[in-house]
Symmetry: C2
Subunit: 383 residues, 2 copies
């Protein structure tokens, strides 16, 4: 094992109707609340009203910012932070999926300062204080509800970056699987893809950590056992519950113990695809992972075939990769760029942006040549 720190101060409230504890939890921080959310879906599915009822019960003064996009951008974060700063809010309440909660994390550290949030991402500034953040999750996917990471994109600099800071852990996160029952089929499946690839990023990180490997495999098995079933029965509470909890554990630190961190090379590549073509995060990952494994199969053959043995009962790395592609297809995720309408004409643009973003893993470093090969492998093989 590598030396490691296991630390996660977020208090996760999980289960049916746990939203009833939201009001009194918020009240422990104050009553001036910046409420952050995304598209109008929380108004359509009733979650907005449930949250407002909780806020009313504590006579909260609420300032709303409802403009977060599914691939969140720095302008929204800066705008919402100003709103919070000008009104001296006591607490930030995020209601939504990964993009909303990620944005809210950066809002919570931007409220106490006067510069753009992007200065944290560029490394120009370091945060020293955060307004307490409470999250209500409506999409099982990124694990943001119980980690300190946030992804943000900047169209001016053509970057989409992941970043994290200890100040960004939500103080509390409320996870009611009922809140995910209305998530449409495609975003349900991208969420499953996201949690599986988070496990893979941990698995391919640096460090011989047998118990963390077992936990990675346990979480992926949950996704394999219950993910396809959920797609056949989107309103099933028990299945929503299993996927929601699996997504949280996939990126709350428990898969990283005994490692110096995950690899994240595939996420770097996926972020570039999302930045350029606004394709969903989960979909970008199921395209990039098989290609990445193919280039790694000569470097870490046993590491890949061990996964195949545990998950698919197959013996070789080639079969392992085939079975991953089959699983991603089974949950209706793309595995080639053409599947999401990206053609060979886009090749040059993708490559340039991969190079600009310095897409590479932390453990298995990718060279420029590697990126070229991976890019070609993301296109359907031509004979």
């Amino acid at each position: 094992m590598e030396n490691f720190i296991l630390y996660n101060p977020t208090k996760l409230h999980f289960g049916k109707d746990i939203i009833s504890d939201l009001g009194k939890t918020i009240a422990t921080f104050g009553n001036k609340v910046l409420l952050v959310y995304g598209k109008n879906s929380i108004k359509e599915n009733g979650i907005y009203n449930l949250v407002k009822t909780q806020l009313k019960s504590i006579n909260a003064e609420v300032f709303e910012y409802g403009g977060i996009k599914s691939n969140p951008v720095v302008e929204d974060v800066d705008y919402a932070a100003r709103l919070g700063r000008n009104n001296n809010v006591d607490v930030v309440l995020a209601v939504g999926g990964g993009s909303v909660i990620d944005s809210a994390k950066i809002i919570s550290i931007s409220i106490p300062v006067s510069h753009s949030a992007w200065d944290f991402y560029s490394g120009l500034k370091k945060p020293s204080k955060a307004i307490p953040l409470v999250a209500v999750l409506t999409l099982a996917a990124t694990g943001t509800e119980m980690n300190p990471y946030a992804v943000l994109q900047n169209h001016k600099t053509k970057q989409k970056l992941g970043w994290g800071n200890q100040l960004c852990y939500p103080k509390h996160s409320f996870l009611d699987p009922q809140f995910t029952v209305s998530v449409p089929r495609n975003y349900t499946t991208y969420g499953i893809a996201d949690l599986v690839t988070h496990c893979l990023e941990a698995y391919f990180g640096k460090g011989d950590a047998s118990l963390s490997d077992r936990i990675v495999i346990s979480i992926i098995k949950e996704a394999m056992d219950y993910g396809p079933a959920l797609l056949q029965d989107l309103k099933n509470y028990e299945l929503r519950e299993k996927i929601m909890y699996a997504a949280t554990l996939a990126l709350n630190g428990i898969t990283m113990a005994g490692r110096t961190g995950g690899d994240w090379g595939v996420h770097d590549i996926g972020h570039v695809l999302s930045l350029l073509y606004d394709i969903p995060h989960g979909a970008s990952l199921t395209i990039a992972y098989p290609a990445w494994m193919k280039i790694m199969k000569d470097r870490i053959p046993e590491r890949i075939s061990n996964l195949g043995k545990e998950l698919f009962d197959v013996d070789t790395y080639s079969e392992t990769i085939i079975r991953f592609e089959e699983f991603f297809r089974q949950i209706e995720c793309p595995v080639r760029l053409e599947d999401v309408g990206i053609t060979i004409q886009n090749r040059e643009q993708i490559f340039d942006t991969l190079a600009l973003n310095k897409a590479s893993g932390m453990n298995h470093k990718l060279s420029t040549d590697d990126l070229k090969v991976i890019l070609d492998l993301m296109y359907t093989e031509r004979n």
Copy 2:
């Protein structure tokens, strides 16, 4: 799943030589330190000196209490709490195994009050404040380093009770597997037994929690794969590392997600055996668990046989129980009362104390008749 809260604010520092971060960590709380430890072993193996060097580096004013017994008693806790109170300490530093850290938790909530620590256990008083607690672990076993629980015994009332409070989480725990290399063979094995039975208590708790089941099985597999190997090679750092981390995860909350808690019926029985005959905690559990499973095999046959399938590749509950007994024997743990010198003459006394302590599980309740049957099953079967 049952609704649950996942919360653990302890910061775990794990790995070789991480003790070098102890001084500056302590200093964040102040420089008047109550140092709590047990027998002289930390002076013999050099850990005491390493800790004192760290305390010296921050010019700490140190008050020492080195009298904690392996089955900790209320008198020691009350004495140490007075020492801390009279000297107005800023932080409690526990250096030792489960008994020392458990005691230090209760000391840390007893310093701000004037009554006996036992009043928390009897329910007469509730804690409202704690002096920050930092732990340095020297024995892989109970998981106390990353949970809010503490076991304490009271010879006057003839009770040994487990109890927990959110204020009792250590702020930081330092786990260097090197510190466990000198643990003798018998306490190494009792630690392995302890971690395995913690997993079992979680597994038999209330709630259909498939991912937590998988994690339970992952942790037990670590113990099965590396525990017997460690007994053949006590100085092996990598094996010490695996067992040390497994013991932490076995009782830090991650096995309980989706359940209302563990069962703990076997621990209740084990505590009675330790209270009466001062036998090591881990040893009491390997005697009690097979007997408990035997009485449960008609009530929860599938739950038991599922464990057998995953862990031992056997199909029936009877074979599962036999294999558990074999594993406990393999790691040189007792499985019958006679193995630790308790004879049939003690039967009445044990039964009376089981009844007085109201030994019972939280999920699978034990009646007085059940306790009688379990007690007989803990003795070698007579024909």
